[in-house]
C-alpha cells in the first residue's frame, strides 16, 4: 500500500466517522465541531486528488466562515433540544433497518464493474508547472460562464429572500437614524434662554 493510499484511507475513515457523529451526537455545538472535522478531512482527501485549490477553499470558506457563523447562531439561539429530540428514537429501529438495507443494496449495485480500474483509469499526474487554480479559473470564466452566472443569481435571490423575510420595522424597538443624527443643527439641541441678571442674595 502506497503512502497516498494510506493517507486516503486514513482521512476517509476520519471523515466517515465525523459525519456519523454530526448526525448522532446530541449537543449541537459538538455536532458543528464534528462537521468541521469532516470538512477538514474532506479537504485532505481532495489534496490526494490534486485538487489543491478546492481543498484550501473548503477549509477557508466552510470551516473558517460558514461553520463559525453557524456556531454563533447555534449558541445565540439556545434551542431547547431535549424537546426537539422527543420521539427521535421512536422510528430508529425501522428507519435504521431501511437505511442499512438501502446502503447495502447501493453498495452491491455500485460495485459493478462500471467503476472499476479498467473503466475508470487513474488520471495522469500533472507536471510541476500545472496550476490547479489557474485551470479552474479558466474553465469557470470561459466554458462554464453560463452556469457560473446562474449560481451568482441564486446567491442574489438568497440575499433578497433573507432580507425580505427578516427585515421589518417594529415600532417598539429603538434604533438610531444616522441621517438624522448627522443632519442635526445646533438649534435642535440647545435652547438659549435670555434672562435678566440677578444679584446673589448674600451679596446684597
Amino acid at each position: 500500500m502506497s503512502f497516498t493510499q494510506l493517507a486516503f484511507y486514513f482521512f476517509a475513515a476520519i471523515m466517515v466517522f465525523a459525519a456519523a457523529m454530526v448526525i448522532t451526537i446530541r449537543n449541537p455545538v459538538k455536532a458543528a465541531l464534528f462537521l468541521v472535522l469532516a470538512f477538514v478531512s474532506g479537504a485532505c482527501v481532495w489534496m490526494t486528488l490534486e485538487a489543491e485549490f478546492l481543498a484550501i477553499v473548503l477549509v477557508l470558506v466552510y470551516v473558517g466562515a460558514v461553520m463559525v457563523l453557524f456556531l454563533f447562531v447555534v449558541m445565540m439561539l439556545d434551542v431547547n433540544l431535549t424537546r426537539l429530540r422527543e420521539g427521535f428514537g421512536e422510528y430508529l429501529p425501522i428507519g435504521g433497518l431501511v437505511a442499512l438495507l438501502m446502503v447495502v443494496e447501493m453498495v452491491i449495485v455500485l460495485s459493478a464493474d462500471s467503476f472499476d480500474q479498467q473503466n475508470m483509469p487513474r488520471p495522469e499526474p500533472h507536471g510541476e508547472d500545472y496550476s490547479n487554480t489557474k485551470e479552474l479559473g479558466r474553465l469557470l470564466y470561459t466554458f462554464y460562464v453560463y452556469p457560473f452566472e446562474i449560481a451568482a443569481l441564486i446567491l442574489l435571490v438568497a440575499i433578497i429572500a433573507a432580507i425580505a423575510l427578516t427585515l421589518r420595522k417594529r415600532p417598539e424597538t429603538k434604533y438610531q437614524n444616522p441621517a438624522e443624527q448627522v443632519a442635526v443643527q445646533r438649534e435642535d439641541r440647545i435652547r438659549l434662554v435670555k434672562m435678566a441678571a440677578e444679584r446673589r442674595k448674600d451679596e446684597q
Binding site: 447501493m106 449495485v109 455500485l110 459493478a112 462500471s114 467503476f115 475508470m120 470561459t142 466554458f143 462554464y144 460562464v145 453560463y146 452556469p147 446562474i150 449560481a151 443569481l153 441564486i154 442574489l156 435571490v157 438568497a158 433578497i160 429572500a161 432580507i163 425580505a164 423575510l165 421589518r168
Partner: protein
Amino acid sequence: MNGTLNVTPAIPELFVFTMACLILVVDLYIRKEQRVISYGLTLLTLGVGALLSLSSFSAEPVFTFNNMFVDDALSDVVKIAICLITLVVFVYSRDYIEARGLYKGEYFVLGLFAVVGMMVMASANHFLVLYLGLELLSLSLYSMVAFQRDSALATEAAMKYFVLGALASGMMLYGMSILYGLTGSLDIPTVRQAVGGMSADDVVLIFGLVFVLVGLAFKLGVVPFHMWVPDVYHGAPTSTTLFIGTTPKIAGFAIVIRLLIGGLEDLHGTWRDMVIILAVLSIGTGNLIAIAQTNLKRMLAYSAISHMGFMLLGILAGTPTGYSAAFFYILVYAFMSLGAFGMILLLSREGFEADELDDLKGLNQRNSWYAALMLLLMISMAGIPPAVGFFAKLSVIQAIIDVNLVWLAVIAVLFAVVGAFYYLRVIKLMYFDPPDEGVQAIEAATDLKVVMGVNAWAVLLVLPWIGPIQQLCLTAVASVMNGFVS
C-alpha cells in the same frame, strides 16, 4: 471553443433578469403609495419577455454558451407560456397581496427571478444548467411561500417545501452524478450518445436513472412523492399557491422532456414501467383523496396531483404524439389552474380567505357571472366536453391507446369519472345551495374581472384553434427529438 459568446438566443432571460434587478433598485426609491410603479414594471417585463421569446422563435435549435444553452421551439413555447401566465398571476394577486401586507417590491422581484429560473430550465442543454435553473426557481418559491411571515401556516408550509425540495434536489443530483460517472459528460446530447452505446440493462445506468426520476417526481409532485403538495398549496398565501400551481408545472414538463427524452430516450423501455406506476398512483390517489377535502385549495392540490399523472401518460407513451399530447395537457392544465386559483383570490377580501368549499355556497345567487366562470373552469378541469380540458384528456388517452396500453387508458378514464364528482360538487354548491347568512357582496377591480372573464371563457373559445395549438406542441417536442442529431 471560439473566442466570442453569442448571447442573442438568451436575450429573453437576460432581459427579465436585468429588469428584475432594475425593479429591485427602483423599488427602494419609491414611496409606499407609488408601489404601483414596481407592479407595472413587472407586468411590462413579463409582457416584453414573452414578445422577445416570440421573436426568437425558430424551428431550428440554436446552441450557445458552449452548447449549454439551447433555443429551440420547445423552449420558446414554454417561455412564452411562462411569461404570459405569470403576468396574469400577478394581475390576479395584486389586490390580495395588498390586503395582506405582502405588496412589496421583493415579492415581484422574487417572482421574476423564479421566471428566470424556469426560462433557464426550459433552455437547458446541460445537467448543471438544468439543476441550477431548478434551484433558482425553487429558492424563489420557498421564500414566496414564507413571505407571509406572521402566518404560522405559511411558515410551516415553507419549511416543509424547503426540506422536501432539498431532499429531491439531492436525489436528482445523485442520479446525475452517477450518469456523469458512466458517460463522462454532463452535456445532454453527449450523454444521449454515450447511453445509446451502452446496454439498456446496465444496472448502474438504471440506478442513476431511478434517482433522476425520483427527483423529477418530487418536483412534479406525483404519488408517492406528493406529500408536500397539499400542505404547501394550503399553507402558502393564495397568490403564491396560484403561482406554484401554474408555471412551475410547465417548467417541470420541460425538464422531464429534456432529461427523459432529450437525454435518456434510449432507456425508454426501462423508465416507462416506472412512469406507469407513478401515473397510475397519481391519478388514483389524487382523485380519491380530493373527494374527502373540504378546503378548496387542498382539493385543487390533489386535483393537481391527478393532472400530473395524466400528463405522465403522454410521456410514457414514448411517441412524438404522446409527448406533444403531454405538452398540450400541461399548457391547458396551467391555464385552468390559473383560473381556478384566481377565482379564490377574486372571492377573498381583506381578512377573509374564500378557500373553503362552503364559501362557494350559493355563489350563483350572490353573483351569477362569477358562478358561470367557475362553472366553465370546473367542467374543463373535470374533462367534460366541449371544454378544452376534455380534448387535453382525450389526446393523452389516445396516445396511450396507440401504443396498446388499453388497460391503462381504462384506469385513467375510470378515475377521471371519479374525479368528476368533486368538480361537480363545486358546481352543485354554487348553484343548488343557498348562501350562508350575512355574506358580504363580492367586490373586485375591473381589470381583474376582465382578465378573469377572458381566462374562464377561453376554455370554450379556444376550441377552433385546438388543432394549430396541438400542431405547435408537436413542432416543439419534435425540435427536442431532432435537435440532438447535430
